[in-house]
Subunit: 454 residues, 2 copies
Amino acid sequence: MTNEVAIKSSHHVVIVGGGFGGLHAAMSLGNVDGVRVTLIDKRNFHLFQPLLYQVATGGLSPADISSPLRSILNKQRNVKVLMGQVKDIDPVQKKISLSKSEITYDSLIVATGVSHHYFGNDQWAETAPGLKTVEDALEMRRRIFMAFEAAEKEDDIEKRRAWLTFVVVGGGPTGVELAGAIAELAYSTLKKDFRSIDTAEAKVVLVEGLDRVLPPYSPDLSAKAEESLVKLGVKVQTKALVTNIADHVVTIRQGDQIETLPARTILWAAGVKASPVGKILADHTGVELDRVGRVMVESDLSIKNYPDIFVIGDLANFRKPDGASLAGVAPVATQEGKYVADLISKRLVGGSLPAFEYNDAGSLSVIGRHSAVADIGKVKLSGFFAWLIWVFVHIYYLIEFDNKLVVFIQWTWSYFTRKRGARLITGDESLGQIGVDDRGDYFVVPRIKVKTPA
Amino acid sequence: MTNEVAIKSSHHVVIVGGGFGGLHAAMSLGNVDGVRVTLIDKRNFHLFQPLLYQVATGGLSPADISSPLRSILNKQRNVKVLMGQVKDIDPVQKKISLSKSEITYDSLIVATGVSHHYFGNDQWAETAPGLKTVEDALEMRRRIFMAFEAAEKEDDIEKRRAWLTFVVVGGGPTGVELAGAIAELAYSTLKKDFRSIDTAEAKVVLVEGLDRVLPPYSPDLSAKAEESLVKLGVKVQTKALVTNIADHVVTIRQGDQIETLPARTILWAAGVKASPVGKILADHTGVELDRVGRVMVESDLSIKNYPDIFVIGDLANFRKPDGASLAGVAPVATQEGKYVADLISKRLVGGSLPAFEYNDAGSLSVIGRHSAVADIGKVKLSGFFAWLIWVFVHIYYLIEFDNKLVVFIQWTWSYFTRKRGARLITGDESLGQIGVDDRGDYFVVPRIKVKTPA
């Protein structure tokens, strides 16, 4: 009475990670004869990460941008989904270890991505959370909306100002999107909701180390993006570094100038570091890692000396013929996943494929309610039309149909009303995450880490 | 530059609690001359509790059934919303204390509701969570879906069976709705999603102490409800008591029979206990409390000897002329909130109101995907038509327009596809709430309570 399919003697592909790379590899292998697939992920859902900042700013719910992996893959009878975490990889015996079991593979695809990186200042993590998981987004959401609640109750002008100061560290797409969304909240969405404070007095600061925001884009688009941000009310500080975060004060160095800015809400969108699975791979195969721990891959996305092990997505460092590395974005991961799936299928019938080549359809980044920048080959767009493209591209790529519909409705609704429906402050009351204190004072208590029994 | 309104010398109504009672009182007082209102709630949102079981079973997201209190009330310029928790009430000086501030009132409306009650077995709370808050619902959701994940990885037949056994304690509306939804998940929604287990082998047990489910309804509707549940695959045990919960085993006594049932997922929908604010009131005013701590109110919903203090909603025990108490349901709370608001307005111009009278429009309870029971005065309905009424009534009463639309779409979608989009397993990884363990073993680690600094 089980659903087990008779797939005994087939080629077993194990995929670790259900993000864009891993999921698209699994989907591409779903209907291939002679192949069975096991997709392993820590979570039971695929997360559409490009829209995670909207969860962090109360525009969408986690489920709107997530789909259960089992549900996406349930028609592909040769794919098995397993919740678990990789502890070790044995490339000689061709097996991986989970906490309490082992799985052998014929081909292995590693797509475990990256997390945030504090450049050696891990103590900043509690004060300045990053944005990679659903929990990260809910934590950001909690802090952003709690800050306004606390300001409403604060009589001291200086303290109130600190509650109303939001610092976003990092001027890449995530930082730009976060800063734009917070500015919109403060200067428009929440304006009529408070009685003691004027939310428009809030200060939103975006700090970027390089000389312009959105460094991967062309300089004129970066300039347009900065212009849009400033118009929204964001203070953009480029060539600026955060040198310290402590006691609700951010220290920012810009050239010779050092500024200390009291701010209760600091959001981290600056650095990435590779998933620890990269290190596990390197330890056993000798493959080279780059500065942030990403795996250097060959031209077919396999790793040196191990043609049956592939690394794709954000965890892979793939150098183009011109020496530049591909960016850690969803389209790259998706194309890599499909390529590796094709390559494995081809190999099974004795064939092969030319080296992987990324087909760059362009980059898109949104700034506030109805502005975006688009870098589509020779076409560079900014403003409302770029935003429309952004909306349709993102809705098009959302995995499940009901998500598309729900997101489209939420967006249409908030476009016309400027409302944001998902502004809930939630958390675990026992951890003090919910601000029941009437001055919001213990909202800044760090989340206490508790070891889980082995 | 603040939004403070000039409302100095007006009658100050303080409302504690933003559920159905408190919110409707605030809305009714929103446009009354000479009145200013402060609405205090621990949370920043109103929760549409009747649909919370849908969050617990992955049908809806928390934000779909929640609305920010500030957003609902932002057009009512005489209403101020404050996040906070009541610590004390002084009925003589007419003031309430929050953690760090005091607020004086002219009229006080207490609407802080109830939480769950384990009849003296508080140690069951970790193993058998109840359903009152958004966090409760996410915890239930996590446990329900983790149980299927763990079963998928379990080789031992007995252990697997325990993972696939779901016990719902309490046959009131919440218990019936939960049991129906889990049965639907197991026997329909998830059927194609797993490879090693057949989810249809799951066992869903509903335990009720009285002789029928939905005891407040008429006996024939209770019978219809039980019939529908059985058809969905739920094992209904009436006149049955849970006498122990320990080590993943539930002990159920039914007459002389004692059954010990291994079950990893136990959900509590049995008893309620009043919010501690009831006790605070009793200590200072001598007002009588009932067996579960609810406040006995007068015929105008005020408390004895204190005509300026009102208790409404689930926290109030209002006896009808026939001696029976009103049930703790949303329509009662809503009508009580409106009545008290009207009474306060009338009193300000020297008038009064006759005693409160509940206008019972009927009761509705849903069972599974397209069945419900409706008890509308002399009209008793069951089946699909009752379900349609249930759908429209609930959508009608959802507070904000975008919530109505989103919920309607999610329901239409899942009605035709049987899919449930919000099946995310989330939680705090540092607490072991996320099941990264490949056998799901530490998913049952109790959430460790950490004291928040004062």
